[in-house]
C-alpha cells in the first residue's frame, strides 16, 4: 500500500502509470480521481483543505489495510492533497490493482467511501462572497452502511 498526504500537485496520469507498473500479475487496475469542481452557482476562486497531520496518515493506512484484508488486491494507492487548491486541480486519487476486476472496483469504492467520512480532511471553499466550510453529506455517511455486512462486498 502506498499512502501519500502532500501539499503539492500531482499528475494523475503519471501516478496511474507508475502504480500499474508496480503491480505484477494484476490484470485489473481501477483509479478514482477527485477534482476540484466549480460551485453550482460558479465563482469558486480557491479551495483550501485542512487536515490532521498524524491522524490522517494513520486513518488512511487503516482504511487501506482493511481494503487489502477484504479483497484480493495486488496493491493500493491513496494520495490526498492539503492546503490551497485552484479549481480543476486534482484533489486526491485512489488506485487499486487486482487479478479480478470485481475486487479492484469494490476496493476502490470502499477506499473512497471510508476516506470521505473517516479521514480527517476538511474542505473550505473561497468565493468572492467569502469563505465557507463544505458541509458533510448525509449520503456519504450512509454510504458506509453497505460495507458493514462482511458478505456484501459491493458486488
Amino acid at each position: 500500500m502506498d499512502i501519500r498526504v502532500q501539499a503539492g500537485a500531482f499528475d494523475m496520469g503519471a501516478e496511474l502509470n507508475s502504480f500499474a507498473a508496480a503491480q505484477s500479475g494484476a490484470g485489473a487496475v481501477v483509479s478514482f480521481t477527485g477534482i476540484t469542481r466549480d460551485l453550482a452557482e460558479g465563482g469558486l476562486e480557491r479551495m483550501e483543505i485542512e487536515h490532521y497531520p498524524g491522524m490522517t496518515e494513520r486513518a488512511l493506512a487503516e482504511i487501506a489495510a482493511e481494503a487489502e484484508a477484504r479483497w484480493q488486491l495486488a496493491g493500493s494507492l491513496i494520495l490526498h492533497r492539503y492546503g490551497p487548491l485552484t479549481p480543476s486541480d486534482p484533489i486526491m486519487m485512489v488506485a487499486t490493482a487486482a487479478r479480478h476486476r470485481g475486487d479492484a472496483f469494490a476496493a476502490a469504492e470502499y477506499l473512497m467511501d471510508y476516506l470521505k467520512s473517516r479521514a480527517p480532511f476538511w474542505k473550505k471553499e473561497i468565493t468572492q462572497a467569502g469563505a465557507e466550510w463544505v458541509q458533510a453529506k448525509e449520503a456519504d455517511e450512509d454510504a458506509l452502511s453497505r460495507w458493514s455486512d462482511p458478505d456484501e462486498r459491493g458486488s
Binding site: H51, Y52, R58, A59, M92, K116, S117, P120, W122, V134
Partner: protein, 82 residues
C-alpha cells in the same frame, strides 16, 4: 496535562488550533462541557455536539469515550475529504 486540537470551523470559533490544559473530565463529553463553559467562542463552538466529532490519541472516539491517560484529544466537524 492533555493536548487539545481543533480543526476547521471549530478551530476558527475557539480561536486556536491547539492548547494544553489540565482537566478533571473523565470522558470526551465531560471535556466538551468543560470547554463550552469557558467563554463565548468555546460556547459557540460546542453548542451543538451532534455536529462535532472527536478523536482520542488520533483515533475517532465516541462522546462517552474515556480520556484518562490520553495525550491528545481533538475536536472537529464531520470530515469532508475525497
Amino acid at each position: 496535562m492533555i493536548e487539545l486540537r481543533y480543526f476547521a470551523w471549530l478551530r476558527e470559533r475557539v480561536g486556536t488550533g491547539h492548547e494544553r490544559i489540565e482537566t478533571d473530565a473523565r470522558t470526551v463529553a465531560e471535556l466538551m462541557s468543560e470547554l463550552a463553559a469557558r467563554d463565548e467562542g468555546y460556547a459557540l463552538a460546542f453548542s451543538d455536539p451532534s455536529t462535532i466529532r472527536a478523536a482520542v490519541d488520533q483515533e475517532l472516539a465516541d462522546l462517552d469515550a474515556p480520556i484518562e491517560g490520553a495525550r491528545e484529544v481533538a475536536f472537529f466537524p464531520p470530515m469532508t475529504g475525497g
